[in-house]
Symmetry: C2
Subunit: 325 residues, 2 copies
């Protein structure tokens, strides 16, 4: 019998596919099953696919269920249901609703005697960890998070809903001078417009009014009106060819003062070819931590802030002590 950590994947979109791929890089785990609300026969994967409604019969076969649904409509219901049955990992990323989501997950996990790691990934997730770590070490200072260069799915979707738009990709771009200011501890007064800009690649429908599309984009409240936004039209073939990937990344930068006004800068950054694949890689390391912490007696809902880093590693602490400290 295998001693590997038995992973379930709930939801087989970009993140779910990324999890399947990431598990292959980790010898201490294996995919036991994929669950989907779509017709299992329609899904192309090496793993066995079951209907999402079957999960309750897998409680003895899966050690950690990785929830790969979205935060808007999937996780608020799917999360607590899964948490009452399985140890889980999810990437719930609606920052403002994290406390509410935690409450639901914690209640479900206590009921199910499970351990659930919520809001994993890189933001929330790694970036949250860095914000807390940096502030703890430099309490007198200021911190800025920058996102990009990268494709924002939400902003791309917002453009696609405009009349006359066939397809679109929106890139969020941090502004170099703002990054430099953050490193020097001078980013506190910067406006939204001074920190990021937005560039949109748009394929218009035949005969669409490009000027009207551009105006609709740059003036869109919440999404674009607070930013310097540029719009570039191209045919669909070029859009798919040149902007088919889903790169992303970002920076957490804190500058603080110590002693007699000495300046200290801590910085964490990510540069990602594939946002969903990297996010999935984080979720998989989180699944290992969940499996181990549950074995050590921990129950309930936790964030990545509450996980000792050694739990993410496939190496034991004695090996880490020798090779990594």
């Amino acid at each position: 019998m295998s001693n590997k950590i038995r992973i379930g994947i709930m939801g087989y979109g970009n993140i779910g596919k990324g999890v399947e791929s990431a598990v292959k890089q980790n010898k201490d785990m294996e995919i036991t099953a994929v669950f989907s609300r779509r017709d299992p026969s329609s899904i192309q994967t090496e793993a066995t696919v079951y209907p999402a409604s079957d999960i309750a019969s897998f409680t003895e076969k899966i050690d950690v269920m990785i929830l790969c649904g979205g935060s808007a409509t999937d996780l608020p219901d799917q999360g607590p249901l899964a948490a009452s049955l399985f140890n889980t990992v999810d990437s719930f990323d609606t920052h403002a609703r994290v406390p509410e989501y935690f409450d639901k997950m914690n209640t479900a996990a206590k009921k199910g005697d499970t351990l659930c790691l919520y809001s994993c990934g890189w933001d929330p997730g790694l970036f949250s960890m860095m914000r807390v770590l940096f502030e703890s070490m430099l309490p007198q200072g200021s911190e800025t998070t920058f996102w990009g260069p990268g494709v924002s799915q939400g902003h791309s979707d917002a453009i696609r809903r405009i009349e006359g738009v066939a397809d679109a990709r929106q890139y969020t771009l941090p502004i170099d001078s703002a990054i430099e200011a953050a490193r020097d501890g001078k980013a506190d007064g910067l406006t939204t417009r001074q920190k990021h800009k937005r560039h949109c690649y748009v394929t218009a429908k035949a005969g669409a009014d490009k000027e009207a599309i551009t105006k609709a984009i740059v003036n869109m409240p919440n999404y674009f009106s607070d930013y310097d936004t540029t719009v570039e039209f191209m045919d669909h073939e070029t859009l798919l060819k040149e902007h088919g990937a889903i790169p992303h990344g970002g920076f957490v930068i804190r500058n603080g003062k110590t002693g007699d006004n000495n300046s200290e800068t801590m910085e964490f950054s990510l540069k990602l070819d594939s946002n969903p694949e990297f996010t999935a890689s984080v979720l998989v390391a989180c699944a290992r931590a969940v499996h181990r912490m549950r074995a050590n007696g921990t129950r309930g809902a936790l964030s990545m802030l509450e996980v000792p880093l050694a739990y993410f590693s496939s190496a034991g602490i004695a090996d880490l002590r020798t090779g990594k400290i």
Copy 2:
């Protein structure tokens, strides 16, 4: 009665002074006493100074003792002695001897029913944490640590021991092209010489042979012979004025592959005006974590790899969940 965490400082050099300064930035802690092997009356500080030999009478008055001695001669004896009496934090940084030091500290801590966080600071410490975190998330990849730009005390001392040298400062400088290679996952084959270079500012004694000094430096085994080293002579006034500070920093960079050969880069960096003050700031956050984990029942010797990040923060987890995730 104060509810603040009561901190003791053992050793009042640059790190000890930095701890005193860092504690002032944290409202949940206070300095109870400084201990020194020097004559207490010779030490300039706002805190009360006691002879190091008096520590045993402070076990009820101090929550965490921060050990600010050096790794070569102070900590190997001082660490276990203190660990048998107090919860401790230290910055033991001889990487190769960490397992041996852990054994001694763990034995002493178990005997004393204390919790000891060893090898804290930034390397070992934050850099160790990042090496483990990055590898856990990108198991198929390669990682490089760069140090500097910064002053190396050990290398500066080595130059001062050369005949004819009055004073010296050695800067370790990472090589930009190597940093770029690491970000692209192409640093694996780089030699020592390709990753860092060394620049030395030297004040020669009157009448000393500068050419001989330069030769002695650049050919010194272990310290300089594997690097491209440059030597620059200057008068002592200029040396003190332009190179009196102790800046340092560095980079941990990991590039890994996900999915179908997508490239993902994780990077952590520090840029420090004052190496000892920043190290001290880390030690102080570690003291908070020790105090809390001990209160929750943890005993023995731990590294920063074994501390959930939330423990370093002065904020409670509910506040972190709302504001930082």
